[in-house]
């Protein structure tokens, strides 16, 4: 072999070999020191214990609350913002969701909304998607959730419109200016990984209880994808296109409008799509501050563990998500509609809107045609069956993973002295990404210690790593399958969509029965939410491998297995690392949900901080710790990706 290897290859191989040795050595040293120093310097903090920092945050929070009615910033700044947003949301609700303008029903009834949805889909996305949209909206009515769905749709649309209003210009700016981009990145990281529970209560202090707070809570989480993807789209426009435009004497403004935006259009629409999905995933959380709609139905049903009703409402959210996703995805393709179809569609839509304005049968969805009750009953009996017959198997699986994977990893991270873990992290960062990575990691580790929640952070980190491993295993297995088979893709994709937007608590109720309130349940919940993203990315990556390469490999007599392992996966390296990165971030965004089902640690700290005012400061600190973990892991995986793909 040595003789065959090109002379340049040799030192590189040797270098890699040496590095593996070094990493192995570090881990070994860590294990030995762990044995000696176990449970020393772990910086633990009891659930009800506070640090001075936590108390200080509490006092700031109290002071802000107490000065609310006299502070000019509140009176003239936040109040104005609140008024504008409130008016906007209430207006959309008046159109499609709530009785308004002295009428017992909204301005546009169900028939009109279905008509409009169908027509808009027809224009931007074509016949097939239009049919899907009509069927989807009708099914919302059949589920017995018309009004709730329209409330949710109003709030989502309002949040999305405002997100885009600010997000796209900001994204363009970040795409054009490196400095703007550098400043925005950490802010966006913060917005996406800071748990909503941390800012939910303060939001109602700033913007009062009502649509404005719910909308703002939603858009804090939903706007970042629009900004990021727009910036990315602008940056990806080939340089020579821009140069050509400039050499022809175009001004910067002209280049932007005539060249950059049109070339980036497709990608920007994907950003819109991601923003809609993110907004819909906030529906249940916003319900905790009285946001109207399907989220309320879910939250209420869960008080009595009524999985059937919660599932029905969750399904309505999934239906809305799938319709909006397919419409926006299809909108990336340019299409022209024949004139007769355009005007015919417009005519039919006008008629439906008129009917729904005038006649009761077209305004209120008929209550006696429905399948909502069957869905509720079906979901309830499936859940009961699963809860009765599976715990024996699932409990064993839970115990196996817990003892074989979670416990050892957690023991190593959370029972080592903090300085030992810190040292290991910094050294590994140096090996992965050089001095820069090492500095970033060192700062992050310092911040974790400063939050006073070091041990909780390490427990959460252990669970996060286990969840990410499971996400990647699923991602590779299902992603390759979907990437190689169109049919598998078509069948699985809707399930993945459901996993992403179905409110977690709907499936957590049966999960609690199957796996009890444990760290494992929290991990499974995170996997359900994060795996779809990883699977989709890997599937797209595998599909993007040029067919010619795959054919060549098959022609040379490779088996399917060889083709996958030797050709498709290595060539989809970029997708794999992106999947790992996104998987991690998504897993981290479920830490708080995990806290609700037995994960303890940072997730529980955040939840408790939301519920008890004297734990508020600690909850906020825990939120910051989650953000810090996110930033550290994100930068590390990105550095690793860079190394690996070069």
């Amino acid at each position: 072999m040595v003789a065959v290897a090109a002379p340049r290859q040799l030192p590189r191989l040797w270098h890699r070999y040496k590095q593996a040795l070094v990493v192995g050595g570090i881990v070994l040293a860590w294990l030995v020191l762990w044995l000696v120093l176990r449970n020393f310097g772990t910086l633990p903090l009891d659930a009800s214990e506070l640090t001075p920092l936590h108390r200080w945050i509490n006092s700031v929070n109290d002071a802000v609350g107490a000065s609310r009615n006299s502070n000019p910033v509140f009176l003239y700044f936040f109040n104005e913002i609140r008024l504008v947003i409130d008016e906007f949301v209430t207006f959309v609700q008046a159109l499609i969701a709530q009785p308004s303008f002295g009428r017992p029903v909204p301005v546009i009834g169900w028939l009109g909304v279905v008509g409009i949805a169908g027509f808009v889909s027809l224009v931007v996305a074509g016949w097939r998607v239009a049919l899907l949209a009509v069927a989807g909206f009708v099914s919302l009515g059949l589920q017995g959730l018309w009004q709730e769905s329209m409330d949710t749709l109003s709030l989502t649309l309002a949040a999305v419109v405002i997100s885009l209003l600010f997000g796209i210009p900001l994204g363009i700016w970040a795409g054009l200016s490196d400095r703007a981009n550098r400043v925005m990145q950490p802010v966006l990281d913060f917005m996406q990984t800071m748990p909503t529970f941390v800012y939910l209560a303060p939001l109602t202090l700033f913007f009062l209880i009502g649509p404005a707070s719910a909308t703002i809570a939603t858009l804090v989480y939903a706007a970042p994808p629009a900004i990021r993807i727009t910036a990315h789209a602008i940056r990806s426009v080939p340089h020579n296109t821009v140069e050509a435009s400039e050499s022809l004497g175009a001004t910067r403004g002209q280049t932007l409008v005539k060249v950059l935006l049109p070339s980036a259009r497709k990608t920007i629409v994907l950003g819109v799509n991601q923003t809609i999905m993110a907004a819909l995933s906030m529906v249940t959380i916003a319900a905790l501050i009285d946001a109207p709609g399907l989220g309320k139905t879910v939250v209420k049903a869960l008080q009595t563990l009524d999985v059937g009703t919660a599932f029905n409402a969750g399904l309505a959210i999934v239906v809305l998500a799938i319709v909006l996703d397919r419409v926006t995805t299809a909108a990336t393709e340019r299409r022209t509609l024949p004139r007769w179809a355009l005007f015919g569609g417009l005519g039919v839509t006008a008629v439906t809107v008129y009917f729904s304005y005038t006649y009761l049968w077209a305004a209120e969805f008929p209550a006696d045609v429905e399948f909502g009750s069957s869905i509720r009953k079906g979901a309830t009996s499936v859940t009961e069956w699963a809860q009765d017959s599976l715990p024996f198997i699932t409990g064993g699986f839970k115990d196996f993973v817990t003892f074989a994977l979670i416990n050892p990893l957690q023991a190593l991270l959370a029972e080592s002295p903090w300085f030992l873990v810190a040292l290991v992290i910094v050294v590994l960062s140096f090996l992965i990404g050089g001095a820069r990575s090492a500095i970033v990691s060192a700062v992050c580790v310092g911040l974790l210690v400063a939050t006073g929640l070091w041990q909780d952070s390490m427990i959460t980190l252990a669970s996060t790593l286990v969840a990410t491993i499971m996400v990647m295993v699923l991602g590779v297995v299902v992603g390759v399958w979907m990437g190689r088979s169109r049919r598998a893709d078509r069948l699985i994709r809707p399930i993945l969509d459901a996993g992403q937007v179905m409110p977690a608590f709907v499936y957590l109720v049966p999960f609690l029965a199957l796996f009890a309130a444990t760290r494992f349940t929290a991990i499974i919940a995170a996997v359900v939410f994060a795996a779809p993203v990883a699977i989709k990315i890997i599937a797209d990556g595998v599909r993007a491998v040029s067919p010619a390469t795959v054919e060549a490999s098959t022609a040379l007599g490779s088996s399917s297995w060889q083709t996958i392992v030797k050709v498709q996966l290595p060539m989809a390296r970029g997708a794999l690392t992106l999947a790992a990165n996104q998987g991690l971030i998504y897993v981290l965004s479920m830490v708080v949900v995990g806290g609700l089902v037995g994960a303890g640690a940072l997730g529980y700290d955040v939840v408790a901080g939301f519920s008890q005012s004297n734990l508020y400061g600690k909850g906020l600190a825990a939120g910051v710790a989650i953000v810090v973990l996110g930033v550290m892991l994100d930068r590390l995986t990105q550095a690793a990706a860079k190394r690996w793909t070069n």
Binding site: A47, T204, L208, I209, I289, T358, A362, A516, S611, Q612
Partner: protein
Amino acid sequence: MARHSVLGAVLVGALALAGCGGAKVGDSSSGAAGDCGTFNLAVNPWVGYEANAAVLAYVAEKELKCKVTKKELKEEVAWQGFGTGEVDAVVENWGHDDLRKKYIDEQKTAVSAGSTGVKGQIGWYVPPWLAKEHPDILDWNNLNKYADQFKTSESGDKGQLLDGDPSFVTNDEALVKNLNLNYKVVYGGSETALIQAFRQAEKDKKWVIGYFYSPQWLLNEVKLEKVKLPEYKAGCDADAEKVACDYPDYDLDKIVSKKFADANGPAYNLVKNFKWTNQDQNTVAKYIAEDKMKPEDAAKKWVEANADKIKAWTAKA
């Protein structure tokens, strides 16, 4: 061109069809407004509270002709609403000394409106089968004897004490330490987690001990038994680190915004006079949780059967 005429025919047909029948919007409209005005009622997320709120809202709407706006909020957010003027009343409050201090004593935006008549209890509970087979488990002195049975994947080599709903104050870590119990507090993190654990424990005869409270609708279905801890004496929980006694009994009360109280309208009067019993609340809670009735229907059913109580609440002061 033929296509145009087809479309036209479809449209005309549809129009004709609709014109034939169907009630028009606005044919029958009813508007009622009394002198009560708007009553902003917070609804905290548990069924017992929902029962209180449903009955109060029903009476306020039907008898006093108020316009009731229910706002579904967590406690913390609801109390905050007193100051911003968006919440008039919280009608089942579990202690919450921290919130009292902040909003009643310091910010002076809230005042107490007396007891709801419902007694709340917090403590450690075991499923009924366990209490039956091992009656001595109901005394904390014997808990260490059974610690091994309560081991789970989360509790290491100790017994698991399942804690849970982060909304309530818990002294459990201090209790375990100060009573020298060989247990580890595991944070389930939500009421849902606790209910599932106890339900399954009873069904499959599993060993579970955990933090719970009454009144709670689950107790209608699974009659959990309370474990006796060292008796509560006033002040024994003053130092959170050194607690070694049971939780106090809570007199669940009503809190209203200062503005609402000062205005002294009919809705305030109703809230002030509202008083019923654990039994009453359990009845309405059962309608909601087990019979799956809508809160307003559950309230209607109870109100119609208890007209005399309502009279006392709505009597002019």
